[in-house]
Homo-oligomer: 243 residues x 2
């Protein structure tokens, strides 16, 4: 489905932005890049900024007009600063990603990014089913196009992952069992006595506090072993002294 999502850059002025866009796309597993009337392309600067994503550039399609680039698309979304004067259906990036992802199961979808200086023209907005608007600092709301693409592609990629199951498997790690922890807490209490840090009557509140600290840390069994080794070493000094 990600293959059905076209990124269309219109009238891009700086080739570095084309390269950065290619990299952002590949990072987020998008592959279809279309350039409409780029000012300078191909370009060594685009290739340099693409880093390892030059395959995206090699396969990209260059068109003279937007309509050629949009042939066969079932949905067109334009990336735009918030337009207050025009009543367009506007989506936030997350809602945009849901819609784009859902529709990409059915056919090709295009997301348009306009010129660095002036964005999308009215004739280009006219092709859009929706506009997607990235919330931004009202005092400085214009994102670089590769940065805007990164945010939107990230939301689409997250959407693609959540659709196939949890993004991050193996999140749960082994933690020490409660009996292992109890053994440690007893050892800690004894060691604190042995080294002369505390006596049992005073230390109940302190012990409780230390328990909370270590429970919060969710130590795994090996970490408990390390901690007990340290305690034993501290106690060992004492038994050596006694001898």
């Amino acid at each position: 489905m990600l293959k059905n999502i076209k990124i269309v850059l219109i009238g891009t002025t700086h080739p570095g932005n084309i390269g950065a866009a290619a990299r952002a796309m590949k990072n987020m597993a998008l592959s279809q890049l279309c350039l409409v009337a780029p000012r300078t392309y191909p370009s060594a600067e685009a290739t340099a900024r693409a880093a390892g994503a030059d395959s995206i550039l090699e396969q990209c399609q260059v068109y003279e007009t937007l309509d050629e680039a949009l042939q066969g698309c079932r949905l067109v979304v334009g990336a735009s600063a918030r337009l207050r004067t025009v009543h367009w259906p506007q989506l936030l990036p997350r809602a945009c990603a849901e819609q784009v992802w859902r529709e990409s199961a059915e056919g090709e979808v295009a997301i348009l990014f306009g010129r660095e200086s002036s964005g999308l023209r009215n004739s280009e907005l006219d092709r859009c089913h929706y506009l997607v608007h990235i919330p931004a600092n009202p005092e400085y709301s214009s994102l670089n196009i590769a940065q805007a693409l990164q945010v939107i592609a990230y939301e689409i990629y997250i959407q693609s992952l959540s659709d196939n199951g949890p993004a991050d498997r193996g999140e749960l790690e082994a933690v020490a069992s409660m009996e292992t922890l109890e053994g440690f807490f007893q050892h800690l209490q004894q060691a604190m006595l042995d080294i002369g840090f505390s006596n049992p009557r005073q230390s109940e509140k302190l012990q409780r506090r230390l328990r909370r600290l270590f429970l919060r840390a969710r130590p795994d069994p090996e970490e408990v072993n390390i901690l007990r080794g340290i305690l034993s070493a501290a106690q060992g000094r004492k038994s050596m002294r006694r001898q």
Copy 2:
């Protein structure tokens, strides 16, 4: 609260990335940029790529060491590719944004971005309570640092819009500052030597593991005092023996 969020770029090689990072920050209403040992800074290229965000560059702090940049921070999050071999608490960007936003109500929070070529070093990861990992194409998972920053800053900005502050203040407890924790870690290392538990050459991996354990626990200043008291008591035995 956004003012309490520090973006820390470590050892950045390309000044263009510093400029792009400044722009991404300003777009997402972040203002505190720290540079640790940048290769080339100030730079005309950074200023050019910052576009209208040169105010961020003018106010940025440049440090020689990471510890200086982290002074007074209550939470440190490192941006990193997914680490499969190391058991670090890892967050997705959205969960990271929630945590960062919540804690920024209480004090300063730092998000670290490593070198373009090699990311964060072990000694830098050692300072992190959490790592944040941006899900990406497994075949090409390394994002440009300004792009990675854009995604994370976007999630934080979204969080700031959806929430006008923690509903229940006082939920967050005081946690020890990074310099307090560093003092404790040094004490722990010394104590482990003094009690004969370890020698410095063998113990690097072990120290790292203990750091992670205690960072995870987010001890408060009083807890650090208790732990240091225990360490001193363990060490005291030794000095008593020496006499």
